[in-house]
């Protein structure tokens, strides 16, 4: 990895240069909560001023720019005796500015799922390859626990990554040739010895700044031991089965596919829609049997996929500790509390 320093004024020029030729997505304030705290979303921006890089978190992750909530996989045109299929997964290049480390780690996890050797997804890969990513470090928010699941540091999976240091400057990590070339559009400097020390100090401040911690130690085994724990019933009874957790999650990728026919029966579409394991029909199969008929089993298996199933398949938890699911849940179900209850249950 290459490192440079970049003045904030040069960074603004860089964003403006990217804006000139690309669709740009970034954290934008879209309103305020009742208690006055700002609400942010990753949305298209048209000027540097619309970016709010000091944001704590966004309501929804940037997942939708890689795995759209709804996507047409293929279209059909029916003739008298035949039909024609059309598949399009070419997209316009796009840039996302201001992703945090946890969200880039989330993309690396999705890469494992959708870019694997068997059945890679051309739809995902096309979006991923055509998206220029500029990440940024931030002081952890009240409820961030990414450090507990090893997602607070990111070493690849982006083009440029910024860490703020003194003198209104960033240290920029460069992870791709297009990142290198894009950075060359503006003026950057080589790191001095002091800059390196500044960078290390900034990273240390971030690491020390976590207020929420989750004891994820031995969690995959613990989950197996606590399969019948009353903790699942206690939290499951609260679940509204509304799927907001999975929709806001940066790594939840489960989906359903259905067909749609035009009203004149001349065309059809195969459509993919993201689904959630907490929704009542998630495990409903032909014949009417539902493998997860109650809320507690659905909630339990959500945690199993996050912290056990994914570990078995990819040697890492699926959860990146952004706590968006806990934040969005009206019933207050959140990973730090659920996992803590499981750990307590195990110690008793």
């Amino acid at each position: 990895m290459l490192f440079k320093t970049l003045a904030k004024s040069e960074f603004q020029k860089l964003v403006e240069a990217i804006l000139a030729t690309n669709e740009v997505i970034g954290p934008k304030q879209v309103g305020s909560r009742v208690d006055g705290r700002p609400i942010h979303q990753y949305l298209p921006i048209t000027s540097f001023a619309e970016l709010d890089l000091g944001y704590e978190t966004t309501e929804l992750s940037a997942k939708t720019y890689f795995l759209p909530f709804q996507e047409t996989l293929s279209s059909f045109r029916f003739g008298e005796s035949d039909w024609e299929q059309q598949i399009r997964y070419r997209i316009q290049p796009r840039a996302i500015i201001g992703l945090h480390a946890c969200d880039i780690n989330a993309l690396l996890k999705l890469d494992r799922v959708f870019e694997r050797d068997n059945f890679p997804s051309p739809y995902y890969i096309s979006r991923r390859r055509n998206t220029f990513i500029v990440g940024i470090d931030h002081m952890p928010g009240e409820r961030c626990f990414c450090r507990s699941v090893g997602a607070d540091v990111v070493t690849h999976g982006f083009d440029l990554f910024l860490t703020e240091i003194v003198g209104d400057r960033y240290v920029v990590a460069i992870d791709s040739d297009r990142g290198f070339n894009t950075l060359n559009l503006v003026k950057s400097e080589a790191l001095t010895e002091e800059d390196t020390q500044e960078y290390v100090a900034a990273r240390k401040r971030i690491a020390a700044g976590f207020k929420t911690k989750v004891d994820a130690d031995n969690l995959p085994n613990l989950l197996d031991l606590e399969f019948d724990s009353p903790v699942w019933k206690q939290w499951g009874n609260k679940c509204l089965s509304c799927g907001s957790c999975a929709m806001s999650c940066p790594t939840c990728y489960c989906y359903g596919v259905s067909e749609k026919v035009s009203m004149d029966f001349s065309e059809g579409q195969k459509e993919k829609k993201l689904h959630s394991c907490n929704l009542v029909d998630f495990a409903l199969v032909a014949g009417g049997h539902n493998f997860r008929p109650n809320r507690q089993s659905r909630l339990k298996y959500r945690y199993y996929h996050q912290h056990r199933g994914f570990v078995e398949a990819y040697d890492q938890p699926k959860c990146v500790g952004c706590n968006r699911c806990g934040h969005v849940c009206l019933a207050g179900i959140n990973p730090p509390d659920v996992i803590s209850d499981l750990q307590v249950e195990e110690r008793q």
Partner: protein, 251 residues
């Protein structure tokens, strides 16, 4: 117009209205880009908003509106005898709709309030399914034409239809709508059936539950979490009573 090599059936259809505003019927006559094929897939024999035909030989009856008079009950039974398939569409036909609120008062008082000293024949407001068996229901105030099209495709060509059974929250998240609760507003989204595309929360209004309950509503937790956010029993009850979909579960 063949589909997968099969000739369509073009069944005879009647669209009839009872106690309602005819807004759902208007939705059927809307969406011009597919109106031609929509009407072409059917033989409309009785639908006063689009045709002057007034025949009684229909196979499918699409019913809008609730029942609130004795003569409506008789008419509904005649329709059930004639039609092979009865579809209740709109919140009034499915749940009683807004006018179900009348049932909370005495009929005489309601009559006086509306008609003064010229009382009319009136009865309790009831959804269609309380009078006759209903084969399919499409709730909504108004109905989503997309869903009506899917139902018609199913009846015409046996194309399978698959309506969401989960709550509105899913569709709010999918269109980046900020949760109304974050803004300090009441919303029935967490217990109301999706499929509408969540236009109300996106437009600045919390959900009023016109589509009735989703397949597995968690009323206990929903009411508890609404109360925790400062909404009173009465406000929650009023909201849940508005379209009649939550009849019997209102606290």
């Amino acid at each position: 117009m063949r589909y997968l090599g099969i000739e369509p059936k073009r069944p005879k259809i009647a669209v009839v209205d009872f106690t309602c505003c005819e807004g759902c019927e208007l939705q059927l006559a809307n969406k011009e880009e597919t109106l031609g094929p929509f009407l072409g897939a059917l033989q409309v024999v009785n639908f006063r908003e689009v045709s002057s035909e007034k025949r009684e030989d229909y196979e499918i009856a699409l019913i809008e509106g609730a029942v609130s008079r004795a003569d409506e009950t008789d008419r509904l039974r005649r329709i059930r005898k004639q039609a092979k398939v009865v579809v209740a569409f709109g919140s009034c036909a499915c749940y009683g709709g807004v006018h179900r609120m009348k049932n909370a008062y005495s009929l005489a008082a309601a009559n006086r309030e509306v008609y003064g000293d010229k009382p009319k024949d009136t009865d309790l407001v009831r959804p269609v399914k309380e009078i006759i068996p209903v084969d399919l229901e499409i709730p909504g105030c108004p109905v989503n034409k997309e869903e009506v099209e899917r139902i018609v495709q199913h009846l015409v060509m046996e194309v399978p239809y698959n309506f969401p059974v989960y709550p509105v929250c899913v569709e709010c998240k999918q269109r980046f709508t900020v949760c109304r609760y974050d803004l300090g507003e009441l919303c029935l989204g967490p217990i109301t059936r999706a499929g509408c595309g969540a236009p109300c929360p996106a437009g600045g209004l919390g959900c009023w539950g016109c589509r009735g309950p989703d397949a597995d509503p968690n009323y206990e937790e929903f009411i508890a979490s609404a109360k925790k956010r400062g909404f009173g029993e009465r406000e929650i009850k009023e909201r849940m009573s508005f379209f009649g979909g939550f009849e019997g579960v209102v606290p």
